[in-house]
Amino acid sequence: MKALSIRQLSKRYPNGVEALKGIDLDVEEGDFFALLGPNGAGKTTAIGILTSLVNKTGGQIEVFGHNMDRELEAAKACIGVVPQEVNFNQFEKVCDIVVNQAGYYGISRRQALPRAERYLKQLDLWEKRDSPSRNLSGGMKRRLMIARALVHEPRLLILDEPTAGVDIEIRRSMWEFLREINAQGTTIILTTHYLEEAENLCRNIAIIDHGQIIEKASTRRLLDKLSTETFILNLQTALREVPEVDGYQLNMVDETCIEVEIHRDRSINALFQQLSDAGIQVASMRNKVNRLEELFVRMVHGGRNDRAGGES
């Protein structure tokens, strides 16, 4: 069964920004899925539409088979969400925040209390249960929002940049917690702008940029793609057919130009050796620009700016 199915989802904000330009996305039940993209890509907008906080401009969404236009309440009941920014009442006590959230989902106080206790303990917040939430540290606030999202035991947990601005140690323990939740059967979708996070946690990744999905693949497949480099070789003499070269896959672009994909940790010396043995002279060589790679370079820079300044 599909936990989530999105078709042609688009969003244009009143100020004219097209935050989503018709995205398609499918997430299988049980998956641990990353929506990876730089700041401003449209991740929070997509999550906002999924959780009824942003109105869509067009498109269709189904959550566990419930169409959000026709069976909104059933769809909502399946989702738990951890937003990018703190959105609980800072004056409310930690335990009340979790129990009240359960109430909105129709779970009585009596049923919600043991659940709140369980999740607050697992997330190391039980000691703080009677503190006003404004007294929590940044990492604790994030964990409180995770407990709040889980209290109605949603089948799909959505987290918007759950570890942005959280220190390494807490990030690791949060990863561990999410892995466990996922192993117990909860489908998880998280957005992130750290490739490392998606790589460590997720089985499938969709990459979003400028409101478009530019890549969807399993994490392994994506890492493969990222770990190869494509070179373009211009030859001094024209060729009639693709030369056979051991261990390399060559493609002819035209008779004086070939392309070769090389894994990053392999040497290219052997390639040149074999080419010159076959009497093929290379005049010049350049890297083929890779859209994915370009994006990652940008994301790394974005990430740096992020740490220096605020987040958008």
Partner: protein, 258 residues
């Protein structure tokens, strides 16, 4: 578990949260009206009232008491919802309800009942203070219950609509200061409209608060400046219009969803 029962749990959660808030910040919610109203009773009732003598066939103190009670109900129902709902919007914790399957009608009902709760609580408090100065009775308990419930529900809805449109904290005090308070003062709290010259009396009849004040005074002392049936129709119409407007605004997510 049935959807209906889940909705009731959700509604109860909001009401419980709203009323806990009123009691938690009692210094802001309960004490100020108690002080202001005590001052009204001492200054207008005791000191000035003695010189005024009678108003509309009642002792001046008795005349103003119902008006001041209903004024407290109006201000506090309105004030509770406008500040609580705007606070939830501003602090973004309104999103906790928006992501949940709780229907719009329940969210609306939760805030309205919360506002009514504070309105009635403060109204009761002011009535207790008033009874220290003037003997109060209940001439018509049914009318009393109806007018208090309808009035507090109406102004809770009005407060919610104000909060939906408010963008900053200043915006939640504009309506109470420039509309609510003047309309209450001109709504026959301190005088009978019989005293007003013709055109002013006609104009007063467009003030919905006049009907609430008079119905409530009727429920205590059995006297009214206006016809009871017309008064009820006007209040009911206002309630329905405001409910529809508030429901529409919430449903469409005006001021809430981008």
């Amino acid at each position: 578990m049935s959807r209906r029962r889940q909705n009731m749990v959700g509604l109860y959660t909001i009401v419980h949260k709203e009323l806990t808030r009123v009691l938690r910040i009692w210094i802001q919610t309960l004490v100020p009206p108690a002080i202001t109203m005590s001052l009204y009773f001492v200054i207008f009732g005791q000191l000035i009232g003695r010189r005024v003598g009678e108003m509309g066939g009642l002792d001046f103190m008795a005349w103003i008491a119902p008006g001041l009670i209903i004024m407290a109900v109006i201000q506090n129902s309105y004030g509770n919802v406008v500040s609580s709902f705007f606070g939830a919007k501003f602090g973004r914790h309104i999103e906790e309800m928006m992501v949940s399957p709780l229907p719009t009608s329940m969210i609306l009902a939760g805030y309205v009942i919360g506002g009514m709760g504070r309105g009635l609580l403060v109204g009761l408090l002011v009535a207790l203070i008033a009874s220290l100065f003037v003997p109060l009775q209940v001439a018509n308990p049914l009318v009393m219950a109806a007018v208090v419930l309808l009035t507090s529900a109406t102004f809770s809805l009005a407060g919610l609509i104000n909060a939906v449109f408010a963008k900053k904290f200043d915006d939640i005090s504009i309506i109470p200061t420039f509309i609510l308070t003047p309309l209450t003062y001109l709504g026959g709290v301190f005088y009978t409209v019989e005293l007003l010259p013709g055109p002013w009396r006609e104009l007063s009849l467009f003030n919905p608060i006049l009907y609430m004040v008079n119905l409530f005074r009727y429920s205590i002392f059995g006297v009214s400046d206006v016809r009871l049936d017309i008064a009820f129709v006007i209040i009911l119409a206002m309630l329905i219009v405001l409910y529809i407007l508030a429901f529409y605004l919430l449903k469409r997510g005006i001021g809430l969803r981008a």
